[in-house]
Symmetry: C2
Subunit: 144 residues, 2 copies
DNA sequence: CTGCTTGCAAACGGTTTGCATTATT
DNA sequence: AATAATGCAAACCGTTTGCAAGCAG
């Protein structure tokens, strides 16, 4: 089969290809992200790394996640007043966030399809992205 | 002309009607809000009050704006990582925010009309509100 | 006179940074 | 060896809070 040798399927490989030094800390952080494959905060990633038996400072987790977000390997989501979430899924989609417990869930990607165009016509604004966050109560919190 | 005596057109009057003690600090804050009639941060309101020759602590501004938001007289908007904005316009509408200078502008209220229903069908989620924030660069920042 | 409101200053929580040390390439 | 990444602790910034003093109703 013909496969371009410059394609790197895993996150770790893509980072290596970008010239990233793959320190044990970065390996552990990337492993935690691959394992979760979901919205995670810096603290959650840090906890997961520690639980895995590795010692990484929270500052390094923050720096690493921010760098990954800056290069488009993660998407940073600021939902409400709580801490930032880093989304493993970088495809365009939106979220619902629970006002009570802060839970973050995905919304159908078909929703809000025509919105981007509409925004670009607003005040000569140059649109880079859209953050659509519905807030309310998740099923669990609404039940009690 | 027939006008109900229980209707209070001004913000100050509505607050009085709710039993709020109209201290000089609150009068000054409300005056600043009425004057701006726009998105303002706590700091901006504080500055405006000081410029008007009144002495109000920043803590009081924060407490007052939060209370007004809690009673629906302002809408709190969290756009991106910057500080919260308090929106004088509480009617449903959305925003565009500049990644460079943080400027916040309104978006056509017709946009995103069907979104709320869609969200309410997501995971049994009970929707209280929607924050739709487009980000990118405003005309001024895109020009330089 | 009652108790809500204020101001201060300190605490707070998430995040970033300066700098000396360490480790990858 | 050269250079990039780490850890620590302190700084940071927006926001909140505890408590004594003040003032509106």
């Amino acid at each position: 089969m013909t496969r371009s040798p410059t394609r790197h399927p895993s996150l770790a490989q893509r980072l290596r290809a970008r010239g990233w030094r793959m320190t044990p800390q970065r390996v552990a952080i990337v492993a935690a992200l691959d394992d979760a494959r979901a919205h995670t905060t810096a603290e959650q990633v840090h906890d997961a790394v520690l639980r895995g038996g590795h010692r990484v400072s929270l500052a390094t987790v923050y720096n690493t996640l921010s760098a990954l977000a800056a290069m488009g390997e993660l998407r940073e989501v600021h939902a409400g007043r709580r801490s930032a979430a880093f989304d493993y899924n970088v495809d365009p989609h939106h979220h619902v966030v629970c006002d009570v417990c802060g839970a973050l869930a995905d919304l159908d990607p078909g929703v809000a399809r025509g919105l981007r165009l509409a925004a670009s016509q607003s005040n000569g604004f140059e649109v880079h992205g859209v953050e659509v966050v519905f807030h309310g109560r998740c099923r669990a919190c609404a039940a009690r």
